[in-house]
């Protein structure tokens, strides 16, 4: 009995064993702290503060020649800069990865940076540049790459913005297939929204309602008000195209409530104007 007890104790101790705490250099500690503070600012919605600390983290990572940290912080900085509407700064941040072929970034980081650049260019309305960067990311991304759905969604949006609704629908369907699992739910919602928009653009508003409603359900679960507002707006347009004025008005009133809660003055004004018609 005592042997069994000793064996269990040894097994428990072995299971509790952990790697020693990594105590890096002071610069390493400052890097971790800057990254943690930036992430905290981003979570709290203080994007200017987040940008400041991601910039600081990028500077420290560069001084340490830590390629992975350089890429991660540059990409995060580009995201926050885009949220702040600072597209030029966002591009400059990504240049730390895209314009440094000798830095030895991993393929994953390069794919992330190229995808981010494509998103940034598409968001700025530079469809040609966005197409090129999306193509680069897709070329680098393997068949089951974790960003395959996001890349396909970007390409679908580009096709839709270029007036190729059928191609957009095809790409959005492919993105929906690739967006598997819990981690892929945001991209699944994006794919459904783009599919709905593409069907609407093809003149089939009735078939647009279903994917848009699914996208709204996912976005409500994820709790992203920007996307909820976008879904409601698209649903309103589709309902209006179907001639269902009452449903369109209902979606718009819901959208107005969301935009007011987000303090989005521009969207609120647009929706109010549409509701007054």
């Amino acid at each position: 009995m005592s042997r069994w007890l000793a064996a269990c104790l040894v097994a428990l101790i072995a299971a509790c064993a952990a790697a020693p705490i990594e105590r890096g250099s002071p610069a390493q500690a400052r890097l971790s702290e800057a990254q943690a503070r930036a992430a905290a600012f981003a979570r709290s919605g203080d994007y200017a503060g987040a940008a400041r600390f991601y910039g600081e983290a990028l500077r420290i990572a560069t001084s340490l020649e830590n390629a992975d940290a350089i890429a991660a912080n540059a990409i995060n900085l580009s995201i926050v800069d885009q949220w702040l509407g600072r597209d030029a700064e966002a591009r400059a941040a990504l240049a730390a990865v895209l314009d440094e072929p000798r830095a030895g970034f991993s393929e994953r980081r390069k794919t992330q940076a190229e995808l981010r650049r494509a998103i940034l260019e598409a968001g700025s309305g530079n469809l040609g540049a966005a197409e090129i960067w999306a193509g680069e990311a897709e070329r680098r991304c393997a068949t089951r790459c974790e960003y395959a759905a996001a890349i396909l969604n970007v390409r679908a949006q580009l096709a839709l913005d270029s007036g190729h609704a059928a191609e957009a629908a095809r790409l959005a369907s492919a993105a929906l297939e690739r967006a598997g699992g819990e981690a892929g739910r945001p991209e699944a919602a994006n794919a459904l929204r783009t599919l709905g928009r593409a069907r609407h653009a093809q003149g089939d508003a009735t078939r647009a309602i279903e994917p848009l409603s699914q996208a709204l359900a996912i976005d409500r679960e994820l709790g992203d008000p920007r996307k909820i507002l976008a879904d409601l707006n698209e649903l309103a347009r589709a309902a209006e195209a179907m001639g269902d004025v009452r449903a369109a008005r209902d979606y718009r009133e819901r959208g107005l409530a969301v935009s007011r809660a987000m303090n989005d003055a521009r969207s609120s004004a647009e929706l109010e104007a549409l509701l007054r018609r």
Binding site: I21, I119, G125, A149, V154, Q157, D224, R266, S267
Partner: protein, 320 residues
């Protein structure tokens, strides 16, 4: 006496003479051709003509110009019923550039002096003149006409100058009047001087009186100053007491500051201990997070990356 010529000197003489004549003929023909070319004989000419009552200054061979460019020459002058008929030879190529309604005028290349030419002034028509057409001629103005024109324009100007000069003369009369008036005023200066002296005497008297009044005012001011002098020591004592109070307060404040500093110094180790304790607690927490079975609970969902979301591609990421 006979001269013996060397044998063979005149052999084939006829041939040599013929060659010489042929060369001479060719040279003459070339010269004539060159002259013809230079004179424009080889160029097709179109005639134009005009009639002028007076052909003075117009000669045969005089150049005819359009916009200052030579387009032909005066080819012939004939006496006609109304004066002289002047024939112009215009290079046919340039005739189409002379529209209907054009007229000729006698002009000189550099205004009054310079080579005389016949200048064609283009008209407003759209069709060119026909060959042999008659055009209007405007004779040149002579020196007498130019002088007469100048006189016509200059006389009014001279009249105005003359009128201005006479006004200046009348102003001289006014000046005489002014000088006379000034002389009268100068004559009255002694009387004015006397009046001014009287005024100064009166002013001196007034100043003396003012001085006496000022003395009285000063005495009154002195009395007031005495009053202030009496009140000032009491005020000074009060002010001194206030300053002492402020001084005491400042000393107290300084003492409080020193005490606060000492307190902070004492608290510093405690703060250091707290920081170190917090760091250690963090380390313990980190270790706990890494230990099974808690490691799965605290495992971060991402590698510190913000989500790369294709939704931002719609340009709506700014409104978050």
């Amino acid at each position: 006496m006979s001269v013996t010529l060397p044998p063979g000197r005149f052999t084939r003489l006829v041939l040599k003479v013929n060659v010489f004549l042929l060369i001479a003929l060719v040279l003459v023909a070339a010269f004539l051709g060159m002259v013809a070319y230079k004179q424009g004989w080889l160029v097709r000419q179109s005639p134009l003509h005009f009639v002028t009552p007076n052909a003075l200054g117009i000669n045969k061979g005089m150049p005819v110009k359009l916009h200052g460019f030579t387009i032909g020459q005066v080819s012939e002058l004939k006496l006609a019923e109304a004066g002289v008929d002047v024939q112009l030879s215009i290079v046919s190529e340039y005739l189409r550039r002379i529209p209907q309604g054009s007229y000729a005028r006698h002009a000189r290349e550099a205004g009054v002096i310079g080579t005389a030419v016949i200048d064609i002034v283009p008209g407003q028509g759209t069709m060119p003149l026909a060959e042999g057409a008659a055009i209007r001629f405007e004779p040149a103005r002579g020196i007498a006409e130019i002088i007469d024109d100048f006189r016509r324009q200059a006389v009014p100007a001279f009249n105005e100058v003359k009128q201005a000069m006479s006004q200046i003369g009348r102003s001289g009369e006014d000046l005489t009047t002014i000088l006379s008036a000034l002389r009268v005023e100068v004559e009255q200066l002694p009387a004015t001087h006397r009046a001014v002296r009287k005024l100064v005497e009166q002013a001196t008297k007034a100043t003396t009186e003012l001085n006496q009044q000022a003395g009285a005012t000063l005495a009154a001011t002195e009395r007031v100053a005495h009053g202030v002098d009496r009140a000032l020591p009491a005020l000074s004592e009060k002010l001194s007491a206030s300053i002492d109070s402020i001084d005491a307060a400042a000393v107290q404040l300084k003492k409080t500051g020193q005490e606060a500093q000492a307190t902070l110094r004492n608290a510093q180790p405690l703060l250091d201990h707290s920081e170190s304790a917090a760091r250690e607690a963090g380390d313990v927490l980190s270790a706990a997070k890494r230990v099974w079975p808690l490691s799965d609970t605290f495992k971060e969902a991402t590698d510190g990356m913000l989500p790369i979301d294709s939704f931002e591609a719609q340009g709506k990421g700014r409104v978050r």
